[in-house]
């Protein structure tokens, strides 16, 4: 949570987290789970 930060600082932090997440294998599983309407089986990869 970023309630004590400015918006731009928070967005930079979010962008970095999101970018790291987007190259993960778990993202592929998460999207597949979303399409198939089931719970994702994340492995931390």
């Amino acid at each position: 949570m970023f309630a004590d930060q400015g918006l731009d600082d928070a967005l930079r932090f979010e962008a970095m987290n999101a970018a790291v997440g987007f190259v993960s294998e778990d993202l592929v599983e998460g999207f597949a789970a979303g399409r198939e309407k089931r719970s994702a089986r994340f492995e931390g990869k």
């Binding site: 309630a3 918006l7 967005l11 970018a19 993202l27 998460g30 597949a32 979303g34 994702a40």
Partner: protein
């Protein structure tokens, strides 16, 4: 490249109506839709006779969240994982500039929500000044369930609108909630039967539009005093 049909713009006197227009996919959010929405809002910002914006979705939902295409990761390339991360980072920062640009347009935005208001759709809804919802609208932040991070400031905006604990309840659990709770928390200002929603949104827009100069001044003032996330944007944006 923006998809011109993904977001429609209709200007009728002082009211601009912007419609997310991928009803066959419940207006699932895509890169193209983001670009198209930005273009529409830039057009509106330059229209001196437009006094208020109504934002809505075509079909059964406002927006069901990000489009879960299998090839989504293939759209950003890099010679190494680190370079891909960097390229994604810059892409997100571009999205931030666009969402902040939407927040900064001089006209107030009234959003009419129905069906689903999830994830990226929730992000877009939170950029509006006033939110109306249809009975039965489902809200939620499903990001943690599909392995992505909230990426355009939704959690910060939620924390500032409803408080940090409710924002954590929404973002950490991904629970869906209804229009009644959204109204109780102050996320939406009015709830209407679904068949009356768009008419009510235009009625409210017409009310706002009737006092042009005063409303614009009030919007600037209201944004700077009531919306802390908009502070830097508001100050840096060019104003008429």
């Amino acid at each position: 490249m923006a998809d011109d049909d993904a977001v429609l713009l209709d200007i009728d006197g002082p009211i601009a109506t912007v419609t997310l227009n991928r009803p066959d996919r419940l207006n699932a959010w895509s890169w193209e839709m983001g670009m198209a929405l930005t273009q529409r809002m830039e057009t509106i910002a330059a229209e001196r006779d437009v006094r208020v914006v109504v934002l809505k979705g075509a079909g059964r939902s406002f927006c069901a969240g990000i489009d879960l295409k299998p090839d989504v990761r293939d759209r950003i390339v890099g010679r190494s994982p680190a370079e891909k991360v960097l390229n994604y980072y810059h892409r997100y920062r571009g999205s931030h500039r666009r969402t902040q640009g939407i927040e900064a347009i001089p006209q107030p935005i009234v959003v009419a929500l129905h069906g689903h208001c999830l994830g990226a759709g929730f992000e877009i809804a939170m950029l509006a000044d006033i939110r109306l919802a249809a009975e039965g609208t489902v809200f939620g932040c499903p990001e943690v369930k599909i392995g992505v991070a909230i990426d355009c400031g939704l959690d910060l905006r939620l924390a500032q609108e409803v408080g940090p604990s409710w924002a954590k309840w929404m973002t950490l659990t991904a629970r869906r909630f209804d229009a009644a709770l959204a109204h109780r928390l102050g996320l939406v200002q009015e709830v209407h039967p679904a068949d009356a929603l768009f008419a009510k949104a235009h009625e409210l827009a017409a009310e706002i539009a009737c006092e042009r100069a005063a409303r614009r001044c009030r919007r600037r003032s209201a944004r700077s005093t009531c919306s802390p996330t908009r502070g830097s944007t508001t100050r840096s944006a060019s104003r008429r």
